[in-house]
Amino acid sequence: MIAELGLAALWLAAAFAVVQVLLAWGAAKASRVTGERAAIAGVELMRALRLTTLVQGLLALLSFLLLIVLFIRSDMSVVLVAENSHSMKPLMYKVAGAWGNHEGSMLLWVTILAMSGAGVALFERRLASGTLAATLGAQAAIGLGFYAFLAFASNPFVRLNPAVTEGQGLNPLLQDPGLAFHPPTLYLGYVGLSVAFSFAVGALVMRDVGPAFAKAMRPWVLAAWIFLTIGITAGSYWAYYELGWGGWWFWDPVENASLMPWLAATALLHSVTVLATRDGLRAWTLMLAVVAFSMSMIGTFLVRSGILVSVHAFAVDPTRGTFILGLLGLYIGGALALFGARAGTVTQGSTFQLVSREGALVLNNLLLSVILGVVFIGTLYPLAAQAAGVQLSIGAPFFNKAIAPVALVLVIATAVGPLLRWRRDDLNVLLGKLLWPASAAGVTFAVMFVMTGATHLLTVLGLTFAAGLAVASVLPLGRRKLLRTPLHIWGMVAAHLGMAVSLAGMAADSAFTLERLAAIKVGDDVTVGPYRVILADVRPTIGPNWSGLEARLSVRRGDGRPFDLFPQQRFFSTPPTNTNEAAIRTMVDGQLYTVLGQGDDQGRWQLRLWWKPFVTLIWLGGGLIALGGLLALIGRVRRERRQADAETYA
């Protein structure tokens, strides 16, 4: 019964989306007609449109909640539950199982899409009503494609007859609190960009591209970007502790699929500021909004369709594959066609000099776009080659070589940009401001070069640039009264400082990490960096749905106080899988990372140990970046509210 209700709610939501498109069309048309009767009709239509959008969001949410109920009740008469859940699973992973598969994740996608449409309908008051109507219409049109995809090619509510007594379980690698909430976080980011896309379509349709549109779009871009930042940071930390080899970024296609929307959103975030503040970069901002959402669609679909593993995986389910390609072509092609048709009428807006805040932001956009392009080509090139009959792999060596130089120039732009004035600035004044950052960078370079020599040039440069950026990023606070500094300035400072912190962590990890692989008996010891590690014990252990082995490592750093670490091996039976649970000790100056490997017949156990100085800075920086986004979001929304109130009472 619950499954049927869920499906009914889904169809109803789709029906409301159709109504929403029609109402949006009517409201957008009415907004162009002048006269009292048209105005009244317009207001009525807008009210109906807002209500429809809200109902559509609630119905989608209901459908998704019903799917979660099915998973919690372990209803094995539903195919999706039987294939992806197990009655013995802890409750949290039963819930997370609802979106840990293709159909459920698509339903989550469309739910967030519909809910954010409802959010726009509820909260957006300042945008011209015609543009708002067109925006909501575009949002519903995107939703319709996904409803169709769910209903015809990925129905999550299909019954299994006869029902099975037990399910097949969830991939144990995914049974981790971090990963349970990783996909929803990323999806919030992806779908937030859909709102930016809808705003862009609305503005293009109504030829209303200006600061008001940019200010309406900005909070959504910021929110999406915050979620993407958190999602990527958390995903990276998950890979780091769960995969058991100490790596934190692999240039894996799935990672790239989340990085590409982030790069586009970062560029969009900066160009939308130029549009909102200076009414410049109009066409470019629209283009970026289209690109950003295209990247999140491509990201979702590439990951979910299995095409990234192999072109052949794509052919396993041609219905889904074709549907996916059709939707991609329809939305991206449609948006690009609309852009092409209208871009001629959108002027670029006010111009500016090369040495100016805008100039630095254009450089930022240029470099981010280049990085995005390189990641895009590097991710899809093996697929194209495979289709042409050539097998090749593209990984870290290519991406590091192609991206690192561009990224280092981007760091300079990040350091310099906030120190420049809008429209026009003096190069000599700028050079004066750069004295402190340049000194910090110079000292770091000298110290690092003496310490490590020329062999690690890239990591030395990474630390050098990080030091310069760290100093430069706090300079905008220099001559301000800190308590009266607007929140969004604090946000920018925090985010740019976060970049520096993260970069320092990455460089430190690759320059200073010490590795120790050993096979030792219980009672023996090994050293890694400043630590002496004794294998004190290995004993069996058991969890809710796994059995395993647990080692007790007694660790001591110099003459410090000894402490214990407990790395584990876990054996899951449904489906049969082994996982390593690394035991990690976080210090002020880095992390000690320990993994228990297999034992041999002579009683020796493999141990993998790493001392990773300052590696935590990578994710700390990611957190700072997200925090910066949050501060900027709060600051911007509050300022908008105040201005809106001032206009109302004026």
Binding site: F352, V374, L392, I394, A396, F398, R516, F571
Partner: protein
């Protein structure tokens, strides 16, 4: 009977992922004694793909195959071979697929040129945003 039960328990206790009964080669999970050689081996391992895994280098994979390849890399480095030689040998054996660092050839030229082309094209586009400098 009890002996049979013990045997069954022992068989069941064998970890499910072990692909074969052979113990892993020593160098799959231990380092070379010479830190310079080990660093060279490690740098090479990070650029070689584990051919049975999904997108992992042999430096960070639990697969038995990756362990064998690590052992092989370490043995050859220890014997004094250059990393480039070992990569060539791997590519001859497993194809270009095994190297994460695609060589520059006609089929990869667009890939390696992409960053420069994008940068040039982007710079041309960006020029239009700026005001013409005043005389």
């Amino acid at each position: 009977m009890r002996r049979l039960a013990t045997l069954l328990v022992l068989v069941a206790a064998v970890p499910a992922s072990a692909d074969s009964k052979l113990p892993p080669s020593a160098l799959a999970y231990t380092q070379l004694r010479d830190p310079v050689q080990e660093a060279r081996a490690k740098a090479l391992m990070e650029t070689l793909r584990c051919v049975v895994c999904q997108g992992q280098s042999i430096a960070d994979s639990d697969a038995e195959m990756a362990g064998d390849m690590r052992a092989l890399v370490r043995q050859r480095i220890k014997a004094g071979e250059q990393p480039a030689q070992i990569r060539r040998w791997m590519v001859q054996r497993y194809g270009d697929y095994v190297s994460y660092d695609p060589p520059l050839s006609w089929s990869t030229a667009p890939l390696w040129l992409a960053p420069l082309v994008l940068l040039g094209f982007g710079a041309l586009l960006a020029r239009r945003a700026f005001a013409k400098p005043r005389r």
